[in-house]
């Protein structure tokens, strides 16, 4: 009804695409174009207060800034928008007729990008250097003279050096400073069950050593209240984890 003729669809618009529509296709295209054109009938005007409503919504928005656009694009995971915004900022920087504030925002965005790129690049370089071991080893490598070698036999009579400040020495030999741990027969049946399978006969778990034969009240976390040194069947350390 109120069809603006200058915008009306003409099938000849589709010519020149290399692949010309067949007459049957043209008939279908014209039919669907007519149907689409029928959607234009009776278009109402927006309310008179519509611009005011839009401006009220705009008033609640922060100032449009390239940096905000980039942050929003990063949040939505749209790298193409980020690249486009950086390109726009560059054009704002070098283009003529841009207001000072626009140029300042463009400079801020580009500077922030450069700093971020430098930080990421520097971090990557340091990481690569560490990976290549250019800065020396971070921790002393375990010496071959530190055999862990936990014997499967449980320690029934722990030696005085048994109570080490790092009970997990048998698990991580390279991190412990108690090489004598290899000398003492640490129980292999750790509560996690990762030590090697002999958990049930182990009277003394590695986490809660309970020296019964030679009690050392200053080091043992749990001095045995029971006078009998018989090993219990159920290890307790699960309570500590």
């Amino acid at each position: 009804m109120t069809r603006p003729d200058p915008h009306w669809f003409d099938p000849t618009e589709l010519t020149g695409a290399g692949e010309e529509p067949t007459p049957a296709e043209l008939a279908s295209i014209e039919a669907i174009a007519r149907a689409l054109g029928s959607l234009r009938s009776g278009e109402p005007d927006p309310g008179r207060d519509f611009p005011d409503r839009v401006m009220a919504a705009i008033a609640a928005e922060p100032e449009p800034a390239p940096l905000l656009v980039v942050l929003a694009a990063l949040r939505r995971g749209r790298p193409a928008v980020v690249v486009a915004a950086l390109g726009d900022a560059w054009r704002d920087l070098i283009g003529a007729g841009r207001p000072v504030l626009v140029r300042a925002q463009a400079i801020a965005l580009l500077a922030a990008t450069l700093i971020l790129a430098a930080a990421i690049g520097g971090g990557a370089a340091v990481g690569a250097a560490r990976l290549l071991d250019l800065q020396g080893p971070l921790s002393p490598s375990p010496s071959p003279s530190m055999p862990v070698g936990p014997s499967p036999s449980p320690a029934v009579t722990p030696s005085p050096s048994f109570v080490s400040p790092t009970p997990e020495a048998s698990e991580t030999p390279e991190a412990s400073g108690t090489p004598e741990a290899s000398e003492t027969a640490e129980p292999s049946g750790t509560p996690e069950g990762g030590g090697g399978g002999q958990a049930t006969p182990t009277p003394e778990p590695s986490r809660t050593p309970r020296p019964t034969a030679t009690p050392e009240p200053t080091r043992t976390p749990k001095p045995s209240a029971t006078p009998t040194p018989t090993p219990t069947e159920t290890p307790e350390p699960d309570e500590h984890h």
Binding site: H7, F9, L14, E25, A57, E61, E63, D88
Partner: protein
Amino acid sequence: MHGVTTILDPERERGAEATTDDGAIVARVLAGERDAFRILVEREHRSIVRICYRILGNLHDAEDAAQEAFVTAYRALPTWRREGSFGAWLARIAVRIATRRAAGRRAIDWLDPATVEAAAGGVSPDPLISVVRSEAAAHLRSAVAKLDQPYRDVVALRFFADLPLGEIARLTGRPLPTVKTHLRRGLLRLREAVEGTP
């Protein structure tokens, strides 16, 4: 200057002037003069609401979508490249928002009497005819909203935003022959979608 210059293509010349004006207004907004955006809103809001109405078929929804389009455009103002007109850029945003809303609608909706009357051409309709027309229009809108990309964008920009194919090519960054191919295929797919369902 225009008075002595022979204008070979008045529409194009007017478009170039509008783009220059748009650029100046947008620069003012970006410089912190927020109220300058009202100039663009006053100038474009009728066409934007109309585009949204063609896609959604309901004035209330169309105004909501148009408002969202303006706010989105305001946020993204620094990304407008000043190559095409601001109105075309805004129309593309509105088409995206309105088609997304149309695609998310329920398949069956209550008929708005105003919409029914509009579908019948504004005349007092035969109720049955008007309902059938209204349902057909809703079905067609839904089919457009469900078109795959890039066909949906091209069809909507051409038929709902009334943009010429050259402008669509510039907006979407695609060659003109590609846009023509997308439009042809999009229309044929739309025809299949409309005819393929009862």
